[in-house]
């Protein structure tokens, strides 16, 4: 039942994405509305599957990499759906929804092996840590999409070479101001996520900092966003550079997940059994 729901959710995300991509080429107002609704249906199935999993195992569903990324994909799509309601910027869907599909499919490909075998998955600190980190990263994923949109549009205007997308993409200032909001709400969440992570770590492993590769990379990522926040607020950085840094930041986040989870050893990793198993 649960895996059926996940398949349905994946298919929903996929067809929603197709709808948004067609919208990119054809300016029909119904397309994004349909695509949005399909995504919503996907989210409902996906959420039900996650809840069933959580109730079934009695854990917050982040016990494996597959569960974690699946949860992240869900939070990401929910975040996008809410942003879409707030902003009514339909074209954003064309840039965001492919990411949802990528997250969802990569979660299906990841191993189901448990991350931690201790009973610590019920801790409120862990739930706070995971939720805020995932929410922050969802916002940063949107920020990434906005960065891509900005760079595309900026290039069109700067090079005076107007292609297909020029008409469809919003104004530079609009993209930039949305990016600003995403960054300014994502960054405190990420900071909170790191702090709760440290608290949880010090409770479970009696030390807040264990030189776990994920910890190190997360801190690097946090610093990238910290630079971006600082430059935006203090110097008024915006536009192309800010867009690039947002893209670099999210790439670093993805790298953090991929590297730390698959290749390196540590208590965030699936092969962490040797340490804490």
């Amino acid at each position: 039942m649960e895996s059926l729901f996940l398949v349905i959710a994946t298919l929903c995300y996929l067809s929603g994405t197709v709808g948004y991509l067609i919208y990119l080429l054809k300016d029909r107002e119904v397309l994004p509305r349909i695509a949005w609704t399909i995504l919503l249906v996907g989210v409902l199935f996906h959420g039900t599957a996650l809840a069933m999993r959580g109730i079934g195992t009695g854990h917050f569903p982040v016990t494996s990499m597959r569960e974690a990324i699946s949860l992240f994909a869900w939070i990401f799509v929910v975040t996008y759906l809410i942003i879409q309601i707030k902003l009514q910027l339909r074209i954003l869907g064309s840039f965001v929804s492919p990411l949802a599909v990528i997250f969802m499919i990569s979660s299906r490909l990841l191993p189901t092996q448990g991350i931690l075998k201790s009973g610590s998955f019920r801790s409120g600190w862990l739930i706070a840590h995971v939720t805020s980190i995932f929410l922050a990263n969802a916002l940063f994923a949107v920020l990434f999409s906005l960065g891509v949109m900005y760079l595309l549009q900026e290039r069109r205007i700067k090079k005076k070479n107007f292609g297909l997308l020029y008409e469809r993409l919003p104004s530079l200032e609009r993209i930039d101001s949305i990016a600003h909001v995403c960054l300014m709400s994502g960054f405190p969440l990420m900071t909170a996520g790191l702090i709760t992570g440290f608290v949880y770590a010090s409770m479970v492993w009696s030390s807040p900092w264990n030189w776990d590769p994920m910890e190190v990379l997360s801190l690097v990522t946090w610093m990238i966003y910290a630079v971006l926040v600082h430059e935006r607020l203090a110097v008024g950085w915006r536009g192309r550079r800010a867009a690039w840094l947002a893209i670099v930041g999210f790439s670093a986040t993805v790298l953090t997940f991929v590297l730390a989870s698959l290749l390196l050893a540590g208590h965030h990793s699936i092969i962490s059994g040797n340490l804490y198993g």
């Binding site: 205007i157 700067k158 005076k160 530079l172 950085w237 536009g239 192309r240």
Partner: protein, 449 residues
Amino acid sequence: MSHIILLGMNHKTAPVEIREQLAVACRKEVNPLHMLPHLDHVDELVFLSTCNRVEFLFTCGALAEGIGEVKALLRTHVGLPTSVPLDSYLYVHKDLEAVKHLFMVASSLDSMVVGEPQILGQLKDAYRLAVEYRTVKTVLNRLVHKSFSVAKRVRTETCIGSCAVSVSYAAVELARKIFGHIQDKKVLLIGAGEMAELAAEHFLRQGVRSMMVANRTLERAVELAARFKAETVPFDLLLEELKATDIVVSSTGAREPIISYRDVRSRMRERRNKPLFFIDIAVPRDIDPKVNEIDNVYVYDIDDLQGVIEFNKEERLSEARAAEHIINEETIKFRNWMESLNVVPTIISVREKAERIRQNELRKTFSQLPDLTDKEKEAIEILTSSIIKKMLHDPIMFLKKKAQRDTRAVYMDFTLQLFNLIEAMDEVDAAQAENEKTEDATFLKAAKK
């Protein structure tokens, strides 16, 4: 025979300082038209002054004297000392050249931004003034009126006009793509030109509330400021204004760029990197093209804007060629009319028209009466031709008598209208032009192959 002369200077021949001086002088003082009674050799006079051109259109009997008088009028009116070498800035077009030039000006083919629509309005104002001062008579009346209709033809038959309008439209659209909402943006207008004013007007109409004007001549700045409900900025402090401005529309006549890479770059930090959009309408350019390389700064010159509306140069050139074809055609028509103002051609065309009517009527009569003998036919022919000869005898004698008077143009024109000869003439011309057109087309096709 009187000559049509067009004497003046424009953005191509005179530096902006001279033109501005002229324009300002001509604006605030009494119109030079009131001097016409003091000009012995000049018959009719129209005076056109815009920020990019100052032109006198006049007719005179004696060429050298007339030109000399108008030049002197220009000099005294503006108050230029004789030491300033005016001649090198001036062009003098005679007769057909003058007609063609006026048509080019009216159709906006001679404008800094080809196709901008304001020039026609300015020409109409100039004409209205000339009518008020009663300085236009038969020739210039017809010529200026003709220039209006030529402009209209060019506008409707080619895309030259839509080109300029869409340039300022494109500028606003681009601003929208950069800023989103432009209502709360600050626009700085540097210099003044037909196109810049058009763009400024467009921005105002789109809801821009804050506008600044910087101009080398304060009077001009004040005038523009009043028109656009703007504030004036001293020209020397214009770079400081970049800190608070979002959109700069520039069209000075400066030979060198007035805003350099370093000027902008050093001010971006103070702007907190807010986007800055330069619309550079001037030719040569006011903004160093390198400025476009700075982050969050966008520089569009007139070619870029025209590129935006997908008017590539080739297309524009072919439009300009089409427009020029219209102008050449109309110039020839006007020449024909001018020639008809001479007595002999007028008499000839009156006779021709009468003969044409006679032949037509004869044909009709003969076809209805097939039983007529040759003798009877001959009698009818003689009868009709002598009626016409006798009918036309007095008018023709009258015209011949007026041939030596200065006012003959009036009588000739009146005759043309009385016998409705202009239309007939135009029809012949149109047929000719049509022939030429098809010839051109076949030539082009052949060339393409």
